[in-house]
Symmetry: none
Subunit: 401 residues, 2 copies
């Protein structure tokens, strides 16, 4: 695999257009009754036609057996080695609520929790307090002052909040205060570098003050912090691929991930149809589009096989909106599998189809896990998808003399 | 690929059980008369049924084109990058005879050889003296005293012996005395580090004394030493995978390799049937079992196609003993190929089948090289087998936020 520096040397700008449709949690597992996965059960004539004309395969988001979170799954598809380029929990939390992080900010994921009279954690989620209660408590915590640092406490959902420290010389190199178990006291945050030590000092001071502010707010009478992290400062897709890339995603976290790699975020409605219409509207303005379809993942996580099938059929029904634009390269794949049978992300390889004038069609006639397993692209790491897209768009020159 | 440190972060202990059946030298090459390999010629209905219900693929033990020795072949299957974690010849020799190495010991493989009156090597194997003669000579050599070191000289087979130096501050970082050709004198051992220099000094003193002890023992009138090495101190499978692993292997070398990664060695008889019975007997005590079947490799090395086919059929016939235990994950594969047509280890990818409740069955209906080539697991490095096994046993959490 080439490094991003090496890739940069051989990419070139051109007018050709790439559309990458990421169907979140696309891969599945067969229902015992039929032996067919969600994708294999769905009526998806447009995807089948693309598979027929295109080249198919399976991707490993990270490597065999590894179940990726959303960040590694997407970074790999954007061309970034997910084992090398890590996004911290705090940063992801900030992206999930569209928080505008500044350079140098340290973000952490916070939980309201319950402690007993001895200070031991009895519930790591404070009985999942309501989001309204959370908002009130975050307002209280926002009054805490720490010397030389600007503090942001932003409510997320239920017991979750985002903590952002804005100052100079901080680093995310600090341990969690969340002990990940009950019956023990919250841990002291420990820094592992000069910047991490400064972060730890501030975090511990914040936690101490939060404890007294929340003393009367049982069950949410304490906070736990984890995933201290900073913006990873990735090289942009423009720098590496010389693309002018845009993202169409209804969910903040995926917009955040796209922003991390320098994509322009396009305003869009939340449905697939609205997302596809957004593509049509802005098609002239960019040469790369990432479109994110979420419903397949959430229905998979709910364990709702039929709803995931339905979500796939909805995408297929609307696909002509994309096809009629005749992108030079159209890739349909997922960031990972979310089999309804497992009710969560999984390690299973993800079907991928690539259609371009130069794709070298294989014998695959339908879009499904089993069919793609014997496709012309074989099984390959998701981080290779972008080089493949660029090549098919004739946006790369020779490597080596 | 994740590092072992990264893997460690996402593995978890659970009650599910993994059985890894390693059929040594499993892969083969077709006999021209039939166009079928050993595996494809064998009547193996139980393996075919597992292939049918499971997910198949091919592994590269190291990487395409590389023929592995026994150590890299097995270490890869145990999850250790075989290019990074090397086991020296001396250590392997010690493991092959169940020699109990202590921490810091340096082991080397020794050959009795023949030298002429000028001290030049005329036969690197001393005419392959008998194992009995070898034992007598090793007894003589054991009387050699070296200052500040305990010396072990242990006969192996024919002209081979094991030398172990037990002392402080030694290292395996020393060159061979074996010149690997005749007509030249044995080389002086040269150390490449302080510990290696100490080893070299002792080895050269030993060789000089051995020469005078053996002066009247023509043809075995000198020794050649190679592969100075120390225990590689690998992180254990328990540390990485949180498993309580056990090994069932009739041959010492494979028990030794299993011991290197921290497996408990179970007492077993030498036949496949006895090995499988050992699994049944100890099934409740461990959550991971490595079972080693040797005969396929030795018959392959003998070039005996029919005997290798027979050995495969014997394994298949006894397989219900394993299947009836219903392990959560059952993997059948080999450490490398040993085609009877080549009479030795080879670089050819090795068939693998994985059966679990969550394996996502593919369209492969039989267990053979050609069938596995289009399986759902594709072709992948053997070092990924353990993550895949762990995932299918639901013993891993998500990677990345």
């Amino acid at each position: 695999m080439l490094s991003l520096e090496q890739l940069k040397e051989i990419t070139r700008q051109s007018d050709s257009k790439i559309v990458l449709l990421v169907i979140d949690g696309l891969g599945g597992l067969p229902r015992p009754e039929t032996g067919k996965t969600e994708l294999e059960s769905a009526h998806i004539p447009n995807l089948a036609e693309l598979a027929n004309k295109g080249n198919c395969g399976l991707t490993d988001p990270v490597s065999p057996g590894i179940t990726p979170g959303s960040a590694p799954g997407h970074l790999a598809l954007f061309g970034y080695d997910p084992v090398k380029y890590l996004v911290g929990r705090g940063i992801l939390e900030a992206m999930g609520i569209d928080f505008d992080l500044k350079k140098g900010d340290v973000a952490a994921r916070g939980n309201f929790c319950t402690i007993d009279s001895k200070g031991l954690v009895t519930d790591r989620r404070a009985g999942r307090i309501s989001t309204e209660e959370n908002a009130k408590l975050c307002k209280k915590l926002s009054n805490i002052k720490l010397e030389g640092v600007q503090l942001y406490i932003v409510p997320v959902k239920e017991h979750r909040f985002l903590l952002v420290l804005h100052s100079e010389g901080l680093s995310g190199d600090a341990s969690d205060s969340d002990p990940q178990q009950v019956g023990v006291a919250p841990l002291s945050v420990v820094g592992h570098s000069p910047g991490g030590k400064k972060t730890a000092e501030l975090a511990n001071e914040f936690a101490a003050k939060a404890k007294s502010v929340l003393a009367d707010s049982h069950p949410a009478n304490m906070v736990l912090l984890r995933g201290f992290s900073q913006h990873p400062n990735l090289p942009t897709m423009n720098e590496i691929f010389k693309l002018n890339p845009a993202a169409i995603a209804a969910y903040p976290m995926y917009r955040g991930l796209a922003k991390l790699v320098g994509m322009k975020i396009l305003n869009t409605g939340a449905t697939i149809e609205e997302e596809f219409d957004t593509l049509v509207k802005h098609y002239a303005e960019h040469d790369f589009f990432f479109i994110h379809a979420k419903k397949t993942d959430s229905t998979g996580e709910d364990g709702d096989f039929a709803a995931k099938v339905h979500a796939l059929e909805e995408i297929d029904r609307l696909l002509p909106k994309i096809i009629s634009l005749s992108p030079d390269v159209l890739i349909v794949t997922g960031d990972h599998s979310t089999p309804a049978m497992l009710k969560g992300h999984s390690w299973h390889p993800v079907p991928l189809l690539l259609y371009s004038k130069w794709c070298r069609a294989d014998h695959v006639r339908e879009f499904g896990e089993t069919a793609c397993a014997s496709g012309g692209l074989g099984k390959f790491p998701a981080v290779e998808v972008m080089p493949l897209a660029m090549a098919n768009a004739l946006k790369m020159t020779k490597f080596g003399a």
